[in-house]
Amino acid sequence: MNYFKQILFELRERPLITWITIAGTALSLFLLMAVYMNDNVNTVSTPPESRRADIMLAPFVHVKNDHGESSGSMNRNLAEKLYTGIDGVSSISYIAPWSESKIVSLDGKNFQTLKEKKVDAAFWQIYDYDFVSGSPFSQSEVDARVNEVILSESSARLLGKGEDLTGRDILVDNVPHKVKGIVRDPHPLLSNTWSEMWTAWTEDESSQWSDENGSTGVIILLSPDADPNSIKKEVERRYEVFNAQSAAENKKLIYHGSPFTYREQTLSFGSNTAPDSKSANIRKYLFYAVLLILPAINLSGMTRSRLRRRISEIGVRRAYGATRSRIISQLIGENFLLTLIGGILGLIACVIFTLFFSNLFINYVDVWNATALQAAARPTFEMLFSWKIFFVALFFCFILNIISTGIPAWKASRVNPAEAISGKNS
């Protein structure tokens, strides 16, 4: 309670320095949270990618042979050899990792260009799409190569102009497809799930470029308690088995740590390199440290200045029985409140900035492959803010407070009480 009073007193008596302290903290937290939140957008679980933490992705394979090297999506046979039947996998989906543009129309009228994702039945179990009507296609339908399509709500609206298209036939590149279901639009920044339409898919020989390469990507849903590292170990073992069997052909698969977690996937720059999580983490933590330490040095100076004015109070508190540790905890407690006010202001500013202005500075999706819609998309409030984010901000506030107040408070507590009371040590 007295912490609040002290802050109110400081705001009343020393408004400039107190507001500068709050503004400095707010700016620091704003920068820290902007980095953290924008990093988090790519890994936070949000429908239909609600299980991102349990999902691993294997979009590529890297092959070396007498003709040179090739890297890119796998062919289905190799994908199954490497990823099917691994312990700890609850569900596995084989998809075409690339979206294609298709000319779509209802009854040969109203032609629209829509992005198409080719997926199997398991895809709909891994990702929790919200079906407005109809249902996902089953594996038997996929295997039978039935021409079925699932539309996003906005695509259905665009094509049907208000008509319910479920069960109707539409033309996809002039081939009739039955609309099996309609789903609510995924957010355009969810690049693994966003599309305007989805068709059932099995890779055929025409899309197999070589014995290894083709047009298959793999999505794995882990069983509860499964360890991603043990999945990786098993896949690496299968790479080794494949390489041993292919040694005579002088063919080798280069293992780059797949399947990847979402976090690793965001760090992946290409199909022939491994995402370097370690370096990325070091860079990230160094960046956080700089963003914490630099403002903390400034705030520390201001805290010292504020404490100099209170030195006789500290002396009186000591005279009446406050121990050094009590003085330190009192000063850190008071300053934490001040840091918290700044932190909350910084967090609010960061959410507002990220919701409305971040596109000016940040690309959330791969701009080379993104549609205009995706490139212009901004994260939603739900993607940006969570209690986890709040507690991370609180943690940053706490660290900032310890760095900026710890030393001045410790020094203030060491002051000889007699000198402090007389103001000699101010």
């Binding site: 008596e13 006789s312 109070e313 009371i421």
Partner: protein
């Protein structure tokens, strides 16, 4: 009650050493009201600080209430002060952000085992005794100098200390308020039996106490 033997205090900087107290031997009995007088800079306040464990001597022995205190740890000194010694300062030294009741409660906040309700009760009792019950929620800035010093005395009393150390307690007050504060101190001495050591420049006030100790250049001269 208070015993000092061969106490010295030297202030050292890189350039000079200043002898603030030199071979001070002093005995103050329980319930005594003692004045310390001397010119500015002669070491009166230093002596008070050393008796109050606010400063450590460079040499010598200090015994308070039968306990040798000069070698106590910082935390033990803080605890000893909290239970046995109180201070009244010339400039009151009330905490400006706290109201009267919170300022008075300060010694009890640092004492273990006192509930908030007990603390409140004791604060109200002592403020009632000093005629300040109507000022409970006022900030120090809203009080007169005399009221501030009465609040400071209330703060000094609330922890029921055996010893009160007063450093020029009337120095910042007009004569009327000064007389009022001296009356209060005498009452605390006579009625409650508290030992009081007071630094003063006021000869008349000093003469009203049980004994005058005169200081010059860090030594007791009479």
């Amino acid at each position: 009650m208070i015993k000092l033997e061969g106490v010295e205090k030297i202030y050292r900087t890189k350039e000079i050493e200043t002898l603030a107290l030199s071979n001070v031997n002093l005995h103050i009995d329980k319930g005594e009201f003692v004045s310390i007088m001397g010119p500015s800079g002669c070491g009166k306040s230093t002596l008070l600080n050393i008796i109050g464990l606010l400063d450590n001597p460079s040499a010598g022995k200090i015994e308070i209430m039968g306990q040798e205190v000069e070698n106590l740890s910082d935390a033990a000194q803080a605890d000893f002060r909290n239970h046995n010694i109180s201070f009244v300062f010339q400039s009151f030294h009330l905490i400006p952000s706290l109201n009267v009741a919170e300022n008075v409660a300060l010694p009890l906040i640092y004492r273990k085992g006192i509930s908030a309700s007990d603390r409140k009760k004791r604060v109200e009792e002592v403020l009632e005794r000093l005629g300040l019950s109507h000022r409970l929620r006022h900030l120090p800035a809203q009080l007169s100098g005399g009221q501030c010093q009465r609040v400071a005395i209330a703060r000094a009393l609330v922890g029921d200390p055996k010893i009160i150390l007063a450093d020029e307690p009337t120095g910042n007050l007009d004569s009327k308020m000064g007389t009022e504060v001296m009356h209060l101190l005498h009452e605390l001495n006579r009625h409650d039996g508290r030992t009081i050591v007071m630094v003063t420049h006021n000869e008349e006030q000093a003469r009203s106490t049980d004994r005058i100790i005169r200081f010059f250049d860090g030594r007791i001269v009479s």
